[in-house]
């Protein structure tokens, strides 16, 4: 399975996993999971529109996900971000519906965007994927501290002179770039599980932000590597394995939290049991 034509798959999937781990850490910390769900799912409209006018589908994805990010940010000034996100995804899906009804060559190209074509990555795809990935990781590293503070305590960030609206917008742009880069590789349905599963689980294993970020990357890498190998061996779809490994990390995180909670506070547990015992 390390045959020549699969090298592109390993490379592209590895790049996607690193970026998903980095961006996902902040998505979970900021409670931006809905936006991370909406942009990849709505951006297919851009690809459909591009097919319609005979343009590059990746370009269509990029334009639409950036426009979606801008719309969420603009609407988010007046409404709560989840409402702004909901309105945005409605607009994106509606235009996708329109574009699809006007094009005849629907099926394979668009279907690939939903589930990705991880086993069919061409060598020409690896370089743009890597370039966008580098931009995303660099942006998150440059903004790391203000992004962290504005994610955990926006009013403290504001008082410290950080422009929290700029942070919102900048991070939405990062999600849009992740979408553009990752959707052709793993698909819009699967990028979401890579963005959420590993960082959500990582929180259970450490109290330190940089360690949680690193662990989130490691778990995302393990997810895609295990999934590619398992899919190759079993011929089952790769998406099934990505989802399953995500669930395994999450479960492991829960077990770890429960165990740590018990080890740290054995007294209350005993006291609760004692309280339940009827007296007299």
């Amino acid at each position: 399975m390390f045959a020549g034509y699969l090298v592109n798959t390993w490379e592209a999937a590895t790049i996607v996993a690193v970026v998903a781990g980095v961006a996902g850490f902040f998505i979970v910390l900021r409670g931006a999971a809905f936006a991370a769900h909406a942009l990849p799912n709505g951006a297919f409209a851009g690809a459909a529109g591009a097919t319609l006018i005979g343009a590059n589908t990746i370009l269509g994805l990029g334009v639409f996900s950036l426009a979606g990010a801008a719309l969420i940010a603009a609407l988010g000034r007046r409404a709560r971000q989840d409402v702004a996100t909901a309105l945005t995804i409605v607009v994106m899906l509606a235009s996708g519906d329109l574009f699809l009804s006007r094009t005849s060559e629907y099926a394979p190209a668009i279907f690939a965007l939903l589930f990705g074509e991880v086993l069919g990555i061409s060598s020409g795809q690896v370089v743009p994927t890597a370039a966008i990935a580098a931009v995303c990781v660099a942006a998150v590293l440059v903004l790391y501290r203000p992004l962290l503070l504005s994610s955990v305590a926006p009013d403290l960030a504001e008082a410290q002179g950080i422009d929290t609206r700029f942070m919102d917008l900048a991070f939405l742009v990062v999600i849009a770039l992740v979408t553009t880069m990752a959707v052709p590789v793993v698909g819009s349905l699967l990028i979401f599980s890579l963005l959420i599963g590993p960082p959500a689980a990582a929180r259970a294993f450490t109290d330190r932000p940089p360690v949680a970020l690193g662990l989130s990357v490691v778990l995302a890498l393990l997810s895609v590597w295990v999934s590619i190998a398992a899919s190759f061996e079993t011929n089952l779809p790769i998406g099934f394995f990505v989802g399953a490994t995500g669930a395994v990390w999450y479960l492991a995180g829960h077990v770890r939290t429960a165990w740590a909670g018990h080890a740290r506070h054995p007294e209350p547990a005993r006291a609760r049991r004692a309280a339940r015992t009827p007296r007299g």
Binding site: V142, R145, V152, A157, Q160, T206, P209
Partner: protein, 278 residues
């Protein structure tokens, strides 16, 4: 900065804080929010080292006034000056509502460290000097015991101390606290008030602390800024908290009763009116 008042004052020796030093000046400031005048013609100034209570009932405009000082609210009229000099965050702020999610991977010490460098770009590496500053600050506010704990899991009172450390670590000249006593029991409240009074004197910081009840602050307050119906009076506690001054401020007869070392402001002389313990 650098007004006539500053220029006429003899400059203090470098490095040593001058005896009197204005850190905040409001000049006839009015604020409108949503078409309503929330603050009207407020004038006030605060010196370094002074502890001032910002007293007012719910909706009086305490939070608005603090956000005005931070520059997060723009005045409709008047000027706000914070002649603090230097670079970086010089105003420390502890907000009224603290909501830290319990499952965030963030220790108390991480949040305090972000008070030092959270506005800087890049991931940053914190050396031994920064770590020592964080330890010292946590110690100073009595938070060393839970420095390594997840900040979202701490109790309201413990989080309050972490927030104070976060606000103080950048060595501000002005510290704003919005109802820091609301979440604390009486003893913890007294401890925090004593701690803040100590910090104000020791580090020569001006403190503006909002509360709806002035009583816990009476032993330490140098002065008071009293808000009611969008207007304000300021001065020493004895000047402000008198039947005449407060009646004028409220625009109706209020009675100030001092009993057992407590101050009670009674609204209205009508027997049917309920008694307000501000």
């Amino acid at each position: 900065m650098g007004s006539d008042a500053d220029a006429s004052r003899p400059s203090p020796p470098i490095g040593a804080p001058s005896a009197t030093n204005t850190v905040l000046e409001l000049d006839d400031v009015s604020v409108s929010l949503g078409g309503r005048t929330v603050l009207e013609d407020v004038s006030f100034s605060l010196e370094a080292g002074e502890f001032c209570g910002l007293i007012g009932s719910n909706g009086a405009g305490k939070t608005t006034l603090l956000r005005l000082v931070l520059g997060l609210v723009t005045p409709a009229r008047g000027t706000v000056r914070t002649p603090l000099g230097g670079r970086g965050p010089k105003i420390g702020y502890v907000p009224q509502k603290i909501s830290l999610e319990p499952d965030m991977p963030l220790r108390a010490r991480d949040l305090v460290a972000l008070g030092l460098d959270g506005h800087r770009l890049g991931p940053g590496r914190r050396g031994p000097a920064q770590r020592a500053a964080v330890d010292e600050m946590l110690e100073a506010v009595g938070a060393a015991r839970f420095a390594e704990a997840r900040v979202g899991n701490l109790s309201g009172g413990e989080q309050q101390r972490v927030m104070i450390a976060h606000a103080l670590i950048s060595r501000p000249r002005l510290l704003l606290l919005d109802e820091p006593l609301a979440n604390l029991d009486i003893r913890a409240g007294q401890e925090v008030v004593r701690l803040l009074a100590h910090i104000a004197a020791e580090q020569h910081i001006g403190i503006l602390l909002s509360a709806h009840d002035m009583n816990p602050l009476l032993p330490v307050m140098d002065r008071i800024l009293y808000l009611a119906a969008g207007r304000a009076v300021s001065g020493s506690t004895d000047e402000v908290v008198s039947t005449e001054t407060l009646s004028r401020l409220y625009g109706q007869r209020v009675e100030v009763i001092r009993t057992h070392g407590r101050v009670i402001v009674v609204a209205g002389t009508d027997a049917a009116d309920p008694t307000h313990d501000f």
